[in-house]
Every structure is written in structure tokens, then in C-alpha cells.
């Protein structure tokens, strides 16, 4: 596995080198099922799609910096073309971020191992992965293209950016590693988790919501990576191993359930013409198989026990708790705060998943399109089924999956002490089943004393109007209404009054104002009269002469 393959193209005299190690293999394994599922779901006839896939594979298999950047940029360019199929504005936003990311990455990969290189790598890959505060483009750009591409962008492209981050932070730059590198990742990750989960709870478009949830999961992975980086720099082998396992397992799990959900959202759009939760409802009746698969994916997104998302989050919380016992008083307080933020994020993610299934797939249809939805096509269903089957080992035997990923952890942190996860859900299932049966029996036997009559609860419906004898579906709680308590309780505090992303308020808007000011200045210069231009040039000349004279004379 250590041998290099040299291609006869690329930089003159050097060629391009391919090299596979445990880390690239792991990410290739994450990528492969998504590509297969997206291809089966209908993207296989698009040349751009395969160029996109080729770019990602090239970035993963790269053996030198040039090949890595080449694959990365190929991926960005191809995905820009794919986003352009959806809409123009998100595509422009996306290519701006992609250019910013390459402007950071290209100098960084050729710098010697130093903190500047790490900061540039973190900026470049963070912008591409949607790490706060550079995440506000992601909920706009990821939902724009067709579902197969959205799935691969959210599940795969984000992972490629994280792969570059991991490779540089843990392997290439490891000589210059500082503990604060990890802290940067942790802070950015925590911000992503809170903002992503909160926005996922509030968005009414299904695909936008899923993209926000991607921001949250990228944040979770970044927190794990940050803790591992910090622990590695501080020489804490056990904590390094736990945090790395959490981050990598989270990447694996997210790479399975998020493409599944995106493909499902695409099928919902295909069947009903919309992905707005406020116009859906009752899809479980018309699309039972799609609904069941979406339920599995939502369980993963919500990190429910016995779902694929649970083990990584469990490990991550363990890592944060363990990290809270290291470092000074500030670190302890900070990690305690991070724990609270992660808890908030998990609760909000659960809420978002409940909302996705409860509003979109249960209840009664809110529109005729939703009422007449037919079950999904065979291709996407097959792709989603493939991902769902692959989710099973991650969900039920995460210990074995982690054991298989052990070479990666040893590659990233050779001194790490790996304690394998002894989390075996099968006995837990049995135990839960026993407890549930016993509780049910006890309640049935002794819990009910006598009977009492009450007016029937009409499933939340208002009184039926005469023209709709079975109740008006629009009187059900809507997606916006479901999120209203969260809006009132938390979102106004974090997102501001109008619910705009803080990154937009504090980063994008000032940049736009700066841009406007620059444009106005350029316009004034363009409209200057001859005498004004002459005066400016003359003043510049005099200033130059003055500086020259002072420098010489002084």
C-alpha cells in the first residue's frame, strides 16, 4: 500500500503521483456507496457528474500536493457546473467560495510546516466544508442541483475537504503542531453545530434543512478532530484515540444517511413537485417504502440510539467529557460549555428529524400534490436501500467498524492508545424490549383503575367545516408552527430578530458594504475630470519625492 504510482501527465519533469494509505482508503470507502447510489438514482448519464467523481477520487488518491490541488479544483469546477443546473445565484455564491478556498489552499500546501500553513488550510477546507463562520453559502448552494448531486456534495465533497484538513493537520504539518490548532477547530465546530442544528430546526424547505444539518455534522466532526489535534499536541494518547474514532465514525455515518435523505428529498420533489414541508404531509401513505427509508435516515440524523448516528455522538461526548479534565481552568470551563452546546445541538437535531418525518410524512396531506404522491422510482429506491443496508453495521456493531478503522487512527496518531468501543446494541435491544414488555404488562395489569369518558382528541384538527367533513388538513400544525417554540425560545437570541444567519450579518453583509464602497470609489475615479486626474498624479509624484527626500536627507 505504500508504493507510489506515477502518472505521465501533470507538472513537467515531475508527473503526478498516486498514493493510497489507510486514510485515503477510508474516505474512498465513504465515497463509493454514495457515488453508486447517486449514479443509480439517475445521475449516471451526466459527464459532469463523472468528472466531479473523478476529481474527488483524484484528490483522495493524490500522492503529492499538485495532484491533490488538481483533483480538488476539478471537483470544485465540476460541482459548480452541476450547481449551475439548479440556479445561477447559488452557483455564483458557490464558485466565489470555491475560489476563496483555493486561494487559501494553494499557497498553504507549498508552505513549510507552520502555523500560517495550518490557518490557511483550515480556512480553505473550512470554507469548502461549510465550517462556521464560512458556512452560510452551504444551505443555499447544496440544495440547488438535482438530488443525486446534492447527495454527493453533502455526503462526499464535504468529506473531501475534511480529508484534506485531516491529512494536513495530522500528517503533513504534524511537526509544527500546536494545541491551539485544535482549539480553533473546536470553536468553529461548536459554532457550526449550534447554528446548523438551529437552522435545520427552522428551515421549511426539506433540502435546505438537510444542508443545514450537514453544517451541524461537519461541526461535530470538526469538534472531534479539534480535540484529537489538541490532545495529540499535548501528548494525551487515550483522548486522541477516542476523539479521532468519534470524528471518523461520524464521517462514515454522515456519509451514509445524508445522501440517503437527499435522494429521498429528490424523490419527494419528483412525486409532489415541492420540497416545502408546509405543502407536504401524509406521504407515508402514498410512498410507504420511501417513507420507511427516510425514517431510517432521519433516525441517523437525530443520533437516536440503535441508529447510525448514535455511536459517533456518544464517543464524541465521551471525548469532550474527557477533554474537560485536561488543561487549565479556561479549558475546563470551555469544554463544559462545549458539552452543553453539543447537547443543545443534539436536541435540535432530534427536533429537526421529528419535524421532517412528522410534518412531511405523517399527518394528512396539505396539498393535492402530496395527496396524490406515488411511491418512488426503482432507481433511487435501490440507491437509498443500498445506503440503508450499509448503515446497519454502523448502527448495530460500531465496535467492529471502529476495529476495522484502527489502521487509520494509528496512521494519524502513531502513539494513540486505542480502547475499542464495547458498545453492543443487540443485548441493549433485548433489554429495551424486555423493559418495554414488562412496563406494558404492569401498566395494563395494575395501571388502569376504572374508566373515564372524555371527548375524542381529533388529532389536533379544528372542527370540520361543512364542506370538508373529514377535517381541513390546513388546520394541522405546519412546519413553521412546529418550529415556533424553538424560534421564540432560542432562535431570536442566536439568529437575531429576522432569523438570518449570524455569518451573513457579521461576515457577508460587511463584505458586501465594503464591495459597494469600493465600486463607488472606482466609479468616482472613472468619472474624474482631466484636471482631477492630473492633480492626483501630481500629488502622488510630490508625495513620492517628499518621501524620497526625507529618506535620503534624514
Amino acid at each position: 500500500m505504500t508504493d507510489n504510482v506515477t502518472l505521465m501527465v501533470g507538472l513537467p519533469g515531475q508527473g503526478m503521483h498516486l498514493h493510497l494509505d489507510a486514510l485515503s482508503l477510508l474516505f474512498l470507502c465513504i465515497l463509493a456507496p454514495q457515488v453508486l447510489a447517486s449514479a443509480v438514482a439517475g445521475m449516471r448519464f451526466s459527464v459532469t457528474f463523472w468528472v466531479f467523481v473523478f476529481g474527488m477520487v483524484l484528490a483522495l488518491a493524490a500522492g503529492d500536493a499538485f495532484t491533490l490541488i488538481f483533483g480538488f479544483e476539478l471537483m470544485s469546477a465540476a460541482s459548480w457546473l452541476l450547481v449551475l443546473r439548479g440556479d445561477q445565484r447559488p452557483a455564483t455564491l458557490y464558485i466565489t467560495i470555491a475560489i476563496f478556498s483555493s486561494a487559501c489552499l494553494i499557497p498553504a500546501v507549498f508552505l513549510p510546516a507552520s502555523s500560517i500553513a495550518f490557518v490557511l488550510i483550515a480556512l480553505g477546507t473550512g470554507a469548502k466544508a461549510g465550517l462556521a463562520p464560512l458556512h452560510s453559502w452551504l444551505p443555499k448552494a447544496h440544495p440547488a442541483p438535482p438530488a443525486g448531486v446534492s447527495a454527493l456534495m453533502s455526503g462526499g465533497m464535504v468529506k473531501i475537504a475534511l480529508y484534506v484538513l485531516i491529512r494536513y493537520a495530522f500528517i503533513v504539518l504534524t511537526g509544527a503542531a500546536q494545541p491551539w490548532w485544535g482549539v480553533v477547530l473546536i470553536v468553529a465546530g461548536i459554532a457550526s453545530v449550534v447554528i446548523g442544528a438551529l437552522r435545520a430546526m427552522l428551515e421549511t424547505e426539506m433540502k435546505t434543512m438537510l444542508a443545514c444539518s450537514t453544517v451541524e455534522h461537519v461541526g461535530l466532526i470538526a469538534v472531534g478532530l479539534g480535540i484529537a489535534l489538541r490532545a495529540k499536541a499535548m501528548g494525551d494518547p487515550a483522548l486522541t484515540a477516542v476523539a479521532l474514532q468519534a470524528a471518523l465514525l461520524c464521517a462514515v455515518a454522515h456519509g451514509l444517511f445524508k445522501p440517503l435523505l437527499f435522494l429521498g428529498a429528490g424523490e419527494v420533489k419528483h412525486a409532489t413537485g415541492t420540497t416545502s414541508l408546509n405543502w407536504l404531509g401524509g406521504l407515508m401513505r402514498g410512498q410507504p417504502r420511501l417513507g420507511a427509508l427516510m425514517l431510517l435516515g432521519a433516525a441517523g440524523m437525530a443520533a437516536l440510539p440503535l441508529g447510525p448516528g448514535f455511536a459517533p455522538e456518544f464517543l464524541l461526548l465521551h471525548a469532550v467529557i474527557a477533554a474537560a479534565a485536561t488543561g487549565g481552568i479556561l479549558a475546563r470551563i470551555g469544554f463544559t460549555f462545549a458539552l452543553a452546546a453539543l447537547g443543545l445541538g443534539a436536541a435540535l437535531a432530534l427536533g429537526a428529524a421529528v419535524r421532517l418525518i412528522g410534518i412531511g410524512f405523517l399527518g394528512r396531506p396539505r396539498s393535492l400534490h402530496a395527496a396524490s404522491a406515488e411511491d418512488a422510482r426503482r432507481g433511487p429506491l435501490f440507491g437509498m436501500g443500498l445506503l440503508a443496508v450499509l448503515m446497519l453495521p454502523v448502527a448495530l456493531v460500531p465496535g467492529q467498524v471502529l476495529a476495522a478503522m484502527m489502521p487509520v487512527v494509528t496512521l494519524l496518531a502513531p502513539q494513540a492508545e486505542i480502547h475499542l468501543l464495547s458498545y453492543t446494541p443487540l443485548p441493549l435491544i433485548l433489554l429495551a424490549f424486555l423493559i418495554a414488555t414488562a412496563t406494558g404488562f404492569i401498566l395494563h395489569r395494575w395501571g388502569v383503575r376504572g374508566t373515564r369518558e372524555a371527548a375524542p382528541w381529533n388529532g389536533g384538527f379544528g372542527r370540520a367545516p361543512v364542506w370538508l367533513p373529514f377535517g381541513d388538513p390546513t388546520t394541522q400544525p405546519s412546519a413553521t408552527g412546529f418550529a415556533e417554540p424553538v424560534t421564540r425560545a432560542i432562535a431570536r437570541g442566536i439568529l437575531g430578530k429576522h432569523g438570518t444567519d449570524p455569518a451573513e450579518t457579521y461576515l457577508v453583509a460587511p463584505l458586501q458594504r465594503l464591495h459597494l464602497r469600493g465600486v463607488r470609489l472606482a466609479e468616482r475615479i472613472r468619472r474624474a475630470t482631466i484636471r482631477q486626474r492630473l492633480g492626483v498624479v501630481f500629488a502622488a509624484l510630490v508625495m513620492f519625492l517628499l518621501a524620497l527626500g526625507l529618506a535620503e536627507g534624514g
Binding site: 472613472r526 468619472r527 475630470t529 482631466i530 484636471r531 492630473l534 492633480g535 501630481f538 509624484l541 510630490v542 519625492l545 517628499l546 524620497l548 527626500g549 526625507l550 535620503e552 536627507g553
Partner: protein
């Protein structure tokens, strides 16, 4: 040799004085006269340098300067003034005191720049260079400060005089350069004269404020 320095510096000083007075003059006729005096002094300086450096080319420069700038251009400028009826024209863009203070500052900057940076050079060229740079800067100031097109042309011509002064002070400057500069000035003057006629046709004045207004609105 002492006389060489003294006379060269005297004539350089005269040229600088003319350039400085150009700033303070508001009437075009007086500006033209000052320019003529400047050009005549310049031709005398060129001839004197030719005598001091034993260069035939500098005599040629002096003669060309005398013929072109000392006689031909002032006559043409006066013709323009007469034709456009500008004899009594007075213009004020910048307060005179302010422009003269700026001019003094520019001379100070020129001395500050040239004297330390040419410490190793011959002293004849050092002071001459300082004076020449001052004349160039003052001409540029006239060009930026004045609004009338004719006054701007005179500023431009004065700038060019400063350049020639720097060139004749340098031993070994090729004659072709000075000759082509003189030719360029003549051509520029012809072009600008035609432009003046066009401006006059359109706006009935040589004040270029009208053009600036059009530029602001039109683009």
C-alpha cells in the same frame, strides 16, 4: 571656471523665477511674456553651457530654443490671445497666496530630493538639477491649478523648459533627445491649438469647466 558656475546658476535662477512668477500671474498676456523671458534665458544658458563644455550640439540647442520657444511660440500664443479676444481675461481658480505657498513648498521638496541624492556628482549639475526639478514641478502646479486651457498650455511649455534645462546641464546628453523634445513640443502645440479652436466653437470660451461638466454627466 568660477564664472561658469556663477553664470549658469544665475541663469538657472532666472528661469526658476520666471516659472514662479507664472504661478502668480492672472493675465494671459503677462504669462506669455514671462514664458518668453524664460525661453530666452534658457537659450542663453544653453549657449553658455556649450561654451563651457565645448559642445557644438549645445549651441544648436540654444539656437533651436531661441527660434522656437523664444520667438515662434510666443508669437503664436499672442495670436491666439488676440483672435480669441482674451487680452483682458482674468481667471482665478486657486487663491494666489495659496498657490505661491505651494510653489515654495515644491521648490523646497526639489532641493530636498536632489541635493542629498546627488552628493557624488559634480556641483555644476547638482544645483542645476535642483533648479530644473523645481521648474518642472512648478509647471505641473500651473497645469493643475489653472482652469483656462491656454494657461495650462503655458504651464506645460514651462515644464518642458525645465526638462531642457536639466538636459543641458548634463555633460554627454545626446543632441537627438533635445531635438526630438523640441519637435514634440511643437507638435503638441499644433494639436492643442486645433483643440482650442474646437473648444471655442462649442462653448464660446476657453474655460474647460464646460467640458468637465459634460464629462461628469455624460459618462
Amino acid at each position: 571656471m568660477n564664472l561658469t558656475f556663477s553664470l549658469a546658476h544665475l541663469m538657472g535662477g532666472l528661469i526658476l523665477l520666471c516659472a514662479f512668477l507664472l504661478l502668480s500671474q492672472r493675465r494671459l498676456a503677462a504669462m506669455i511674456t514671462l514664458y518668453q523671458v524664460q525661453a530666452l534665458t534658457l537659450s542663453a544658458a544653453a549657449v553658455w553651457q556649450g561654451f563651457a563644455q565645448h559642445e557644438v550640439n549645445l549651441y544648436l540647442t540654444g539656437i533651436i530654443t531661441l527660434a522656437l520657444k523664444g520667438v515662434l511660440l510666443p508669437i503664436a500664443l499672442r495670436q491666439i490671445v488676440l483672435r480669441f479676444n482674451l487680452t483682458r481675461a482674468v481667471e482665478s481658480t486657486m487663491p494666489m497666496a495659496l498657490s505661491m505657498m505651494l510653489g515654495t513648498g515644491l521648490i523646497g521638496i526639489a532641493v530636498l530630493v536632489v541635493l542629498p541624492s546627488t552628493m557624488s556628482a559634480v556641483s555644476l549639475t547638482r544645483e542645476d538639477l535642483a533648479i530644473a526639478l523645481s521648474v518642472v514641478l512648478l509647471g505641473l502646479l500651473v497645469m493643475t491649478a489653472r482652469r483656462s486651457a491656454l494657461a495650462q498650455i503655458i504651464g506645460f511649455l514651462s515644464t518642458e523648459n525645465g526638462l531642457v534645462l536639466a538636459a543641458i546641464g548634463m555633460p554627454g546628453m545626446p543632441f537627438v533627445a533635445e531635438f526630438s523634445v523640441a519637435l514634440l513640443v511643437l507638435l503638441a502645440f499644433l494639436v492643442v491649438g486645433i483643440f482650442l479652436l474646437r473648444i471655442r466653437e462649442h462653448f464660446d470660451t476657453l474655460d474647460i469647466t464646460g467640458i468637465e461638466d459634460i464629462e461628469r454627466r455624460g459618462r
